[in-house]
């Protein structure tokens, strides 16, 4: 009531003589119902008012794409969807009461005028009533001055998925009727959920992972209702948006580790038909870190061999592998000619220079070199960013881990890979560093410029794309392949550093210790592949963002050793958690363009992790698990804690049960190097 009355007077002040004229009785009645409404339903029950006491902030620009509303099937118009959603939740009596008792204010600053604002904050008027907001408005100005004296923490983050706690899948889905469930692990959003969807959007998840995916949706819904201006598009919405891209066939598929990303969700696979002249390539579908991937080295060392020299090895690795923000690379800065050679030849260059073993190349996707890479398509800015970073780990979720084989699920496949229980492996997770980021940035800029020329309309500005056949599309693909080659060389140089570190610490030759490459996969890439879609063999450009290729046994592109068992899929966990090696299956080829998950996928935001987790505790726990850690940044420990990520075992089990990949071995970390 305080807030309400306060709003009334402020409103009249703001508007001069035109004010709310409410009789005392009416206002008391109003306050009673207001309280009842507060107690009875959530705030989302109230009808948006067109009056607002505070002038609308003038929105100079906004990229909040439409739609931004919870899943509802049926009518497509955004406004009517909002309305139908609200009217379902609201009792019409209450809403009428509001509209009758409060005199309608002039709509000088209403949200009705600008459709963009309407979509983003169609419920803006609601906020004028919320007591929190009212209180904040009255005393909120102090925030400006206050910030000079107090310590700001990362903004308070609520757990929006609490209401899904302890629910079964059917109950969770009641909230989101547009999501179809096949009773198993597959969830589908049919064509028509978003206008102009060409195919269905679907994803794989089990109960725990579904809770996280839907939690993202709820968080976003709640934020838009609160009128909070921060926010991002949830992964499921992004899945649906991707299905609207021209040329998309078969489906927009989400992996169990799906979460929100740029344009495409991370864990999103989409294939475009290359025979279709309208087919597009989207840099956002590959990601900023082009060819971010994982490389696995095996050895014939055992855990017992490692124990006495664990700390020494950890220190040595931390010394020779450049980690963290800032420049640094295994070999120093590359000259321009060398960089061009790296970009065009990939691991062939490394092999020529003796920086990797000859047999390594055959065990890498694409033989360590993408054909059709053009260093000329890579801008000088990208080269300037990348020349000092070839052979470095980077920061964020990249890592170098020394692991041991904990459990073998598939004997035959493990034998083919040379992995036995108790042997030591080394896993490197890194990408194309600054060069790849800049290539993607440049491509997004050029794509958004040519989209109008090429007459492509997208529902989300971030899905900037251009026709595959166009010069811009071909240029991006050439630059992407060059950046992918750079990443291959990056991982090769780090593998070299690892081999030498091992040689130094153990005093034996690397070949003697059997430090061979098992496989190297990429999980941020777009590749031209042949797939059978509805019985027809087609040439498809598969965008894999946060998804790994998982080809079936017998596929011609696989190396000889893995022909029988299928392609190894390296799924990295997060700090302190296990990693897995899977193999590709036939079902993956049918259902997901031969793709599967890539890792744990984030569950908690970085800010929330910073607030709720203590680096020291996390490190202590990781140490207690038996994993020696070397981290360059203390803050990263909280951000990258195991709690911030989904449970990789859940993700891998879901993939295994869905049949899109088979578990082969589980790896337990012993040493973890992070930037």
């Amino acid at each position: 009531t305080e807030g309400l009355r306060g709003q009334g007077t402020e409103g009249s002040r703001g508007r001069g003589d035109q004010g709310c004229r409410m009789k005392p009785l009416a206002s008391q009645l109003l306050s009673f119902f207001f309280l009842a409404a507060l107690v009875g339903t959530s705030f989302s029950a109230h009808q948006p008012l067109s009056c607002s006491a505070i002038p609308e902030p003038k929105l100079l620009s906004s990229s909040i794409p439409q739609p931004l509303n919870p899943l509802r099937g049926g009518s497509q118009d955004t406004f009517s969807r909002t309305w139908s959603y609200l009217s379902d939740l609201t009792s019409s009596f209450k809403s009428q009461l509001f509209s009758n008792t409060i005199a309608p204010q002039p709509k000088a600053h209403s949200s009705q005028g600008n459709p963009q604002i309407n979509t983003k904050r169609g419920l803006q008027g609601l906020n004028a009533l919320s007591p929190q907001k009212a209180g904040a408005l009255r005393g909120g100005g102090k925030r400006m001055r206050k910030s000079q004296h107090s310590t700001p923490k990362p903004a308070d983050v609520k757990d929006y998925s609490k209401e899904l706690e302890g629910l079964e899948i059917e109950e969770m889905l009641k909230r989101f009727p547009a999501l179809e469930w096949n009773g198993g692990l597959h969830f589908v959003l049919r064509k028509g959920y978003v206008d102009s969807m060409n195919v269905d959007a679907s994803f794989y998840a089990n109960k725990a992972l579904l809770k996280l995916v839907l939690g993202e949706l709820l968080a976003n819904e709640a934020k838009s209702l609160e009128g909070s201006k921060g926010g991002f598009l949830p992964a499921v919405e992004q899945l649906a948006n991707v299905a609207t891209l021209p040329g998309v066939i078969h489906g927009s598929i989400g992996m169990p580790d799906i979460h929100s990303g740029y344009g495409f969700a991370i864990g999103n696979v989409a294939g475009v038909d290359l025979q279709d002249p309208d087919a597009v390539v989207s840099p956002g579908g590959v990601g900023f870190d082009i060819n971010c991937g994982v490389r696995l080295l095996r050895s014939n060392l055992k855990v017992e061999d490692l124990e006495p020299v664990k700390d020494k090895l950890a220190d040595q690795l931390f010394r020779v592998i450049p980690v963290g923000v800032g420049d640094g690379s295994v070999l120093g800065k590359a000259s321009e000619q060398e960089l061009d050679q790296i970009l065009s030849q990939g691991m062939v260059w490394a092999e020529k220079r003796g920086l990797c073993w000859p047999e390594d190349r055959s065990l890498v996707e694409e033989g360590g070199k993408f054909e059709g890479a053009d260093p000329g398509a890579v801008s000088s800015r990208a080269k300037a960013r990348g020349c000092g970073q070839c052979g470095s780990l980077g920061s964020g979720n990249h890592y170098a881990e020394v692991q041991c084989v904990d459990e073998v699920f598939d004997e035959e496949a493990a034998d083919a890979m040379g992995l036995k229980v108790g042997t030591i492996c080394i896993m490197l997770h890194s990408g194309s560093r600054g060069l790849g980021h800049q290539v993607c940035t440049d491509a997004l800029e050029s794509a958004s410029e040519v989209m109008e020329k090429q007459n492509i309309k997208v529902v989300d500005r971030q899905l900037a794309c251009c026709k595959v056949e166009s010069p811009e599309g071909q240029r991006y693909l050439a630059a992407m392949r060059a950046a992918a080659n750079f990443a291959f060389v990056n991982r090769s140089l780090m593998a070299k550093a690892v081999r030498e570190a091992f040689a130094k610490v153990f005093g034996r030759d690397a070949k003697d210790m059997g430090l061979h490459l098992v496989y190297d996969v990429s999980h941020n890439i777009a590749k031209e592949e042949e797939h059978v879609i509805e019985g027809v063999q087609k040439r498809v450009l598969v965008h894999r963002k946060g998804a790994t290729r998982a080809f079936k046994p017998g596929h011609p592109e696989l190396p000889e050793v893995y022909q029988k068992v299928g392609q190894p899929v390296l799924v990295g966990g997060s700090m302190g958690t296990c990693s897995y090696v899977l193999t590709g299956t036939d079902k993956a080829m049918e259902q997901t363009f031969g793709s599967t998950c890539h890792g744990a996928g984030r569950a908690m935001s970085r800010t929330k992790a910073l607030r709720s987790l203590d680096s020291k505790d996390v490190l202590g726990r990781v140490q207690a698990m038996g994993c020696t850690t070397r981290v360059a940044t203390k803050r990263l420990v909280a951000e990258e804690a195991p709690e911030s990520y989904k449970d990789v075992s859940e993700v891998v089990d879901t993939c295994h049960e869905a049949g899109i990949s088979r578990k082969c071995v589980r790896l337990r970390p012993l040493i973890c190097i992070k930037g």
């Binding site: 000079q148 010394r319 923000v325 120093g332 070397r630």
Partner: protein, 328 residues
């Protein structure tokens, strides 16, 4: 123009440095003037004023003093990890890490400024202090070279000093916070929210916010400036280009701006020219490493300008706000 230098090595370094700093090859060589301080080569931009030049030179001299003493008393031995002071050696060995790994043919001298990077003060002095229990007087030499204890130690041993209260952005030693920014929730990346009295200030603050995520700004001294000139076709692309240019200059030159001042602000033609005030990033030696920012994104980007507040009203977040998500 490059002056005659005593050591040919220094000359090579300077030209390489200038090359590295320039984005367009040879033209930028002329923008720098190199001065030798002892055996230390310093490149000073021609556009800087005399006071700034003196500051840079004095900083270089101090580093030189620290370095000379360091090399005398310590004798760099890569590979030894007995004492905690050695921790700071290994990052040094990382970038000229070619010594250990065995350079595959690349010229290890082509490392640029790294080889002349400052070396921390000698251990022996520190140990002497610990033994005698005296606090080393914070002379000019010490302060300039030696970063805060925790940054040097970092979290290498795993049981290192991490700080129980967590990490807060932009915290000054006295515990106050001066920036107008905060970090907002995003699943995988981070959203920067910055505000100010006007849009210009909001733009400045969001850039500082970005740098505060990369390192701790309290450890960054304002000794140098960099110049950024960008243009766009609308406000969003202008903000994007603005932040991207600062990020690019950080990636290539290692320049961290603690404060940003926008000089020309043209909203009709969408042009900005600004200066960043800060210094070169020295990871693990002076500045703690934060998180690397891969790229700026247009994702959920909002640039908001509010009406000027009435006499009684106060804005929660100033008159202008900016939301930017960056890719981590």
């Amino acid at each position: 123009t490059t002056r005659q230098l005593r050591a040919s090595g220094a000359q090579k370094l300077c030209s390489l440095e200038a090359q590295r700093l320039s984005t367009s090859g040879a033209e930028r060589l002329n923008d720098f003037r190199s001065l030798t301080v002892g055996s230390l080569e310093t490149c000073i931009p021609l556009s800087c004023t005399r006071t700034e030049e003196l500051k840079i030179l004095s900083a270089a001299r101090l580093r030189l003093r620290g370095g000379a003493e360091g090399s005398k008393e310590r004798g760099l031995e890569a590979g030894k990890l007995e004492t905690k002071g050695t921790r700071s050696q290994s990052p040094k060995a990382t970038s000229p890490g070619a010594e250990e790994v065995g350079a595959g043919g690349l010229d290890t001298e082509e490392i640029g400024m790294d080889a002349t990077d400052i070396k921390p003060l000698p251990q022996r002095k520190k140990r002497k202090d610990d033994a005698s229990g005296n606090q080393q007087p914070t002379g000019v030499g010490t302060r300039c070279v030696e970063g805060p204890e925790e940054t040097r130690k970092s979290v290498v041993e795993g049981t290192g000093d991490v700080g129980a209260e967590g990490w807060h952005p932009g915290l000054t030693p006295s515990g106050t916070f001066e920036g107008k920014y905060e970090y907002l929730d995003h699943t995988a990346d981070v959203q920067f929210h910055a505000w100010g009295n006007d849009l210009k200030e909001a733009f400045e603050q969001v850039t500082v916010c970005m740098f505060s995520y990369i390192t701790e700004l309290e450890t960054v001294e304002v000794t140098a400036e960099n110049l950024v000139e960008v243009s766009g076709h609308d406000l969003e692309s202008l903000l994007y280009a603005f932040m991207d240019e600062f990020l690019f200059q950080f990636c290539v030159d290692g320049f961290v701006a603690r404060k940003v001042t926008i000089d020309t602000w043209d909203l009709e033609g969408f042009k900005i020219s600004a200066r960043g005030h800060g210094e070169k990033f020295q990871p693990r030696v002076k500045h703690p490493q934060g998180t690397e920012i891969k790229a700026i994104t247009y994702s959920a980007m909002q640039i908001l300008q509010h009406q000027p507040p009435g006499p009684e009203e106060d804005r929660e977040f100033g008159n202008a706000e900016v939301y930017v998500i960056v890719d981590i």
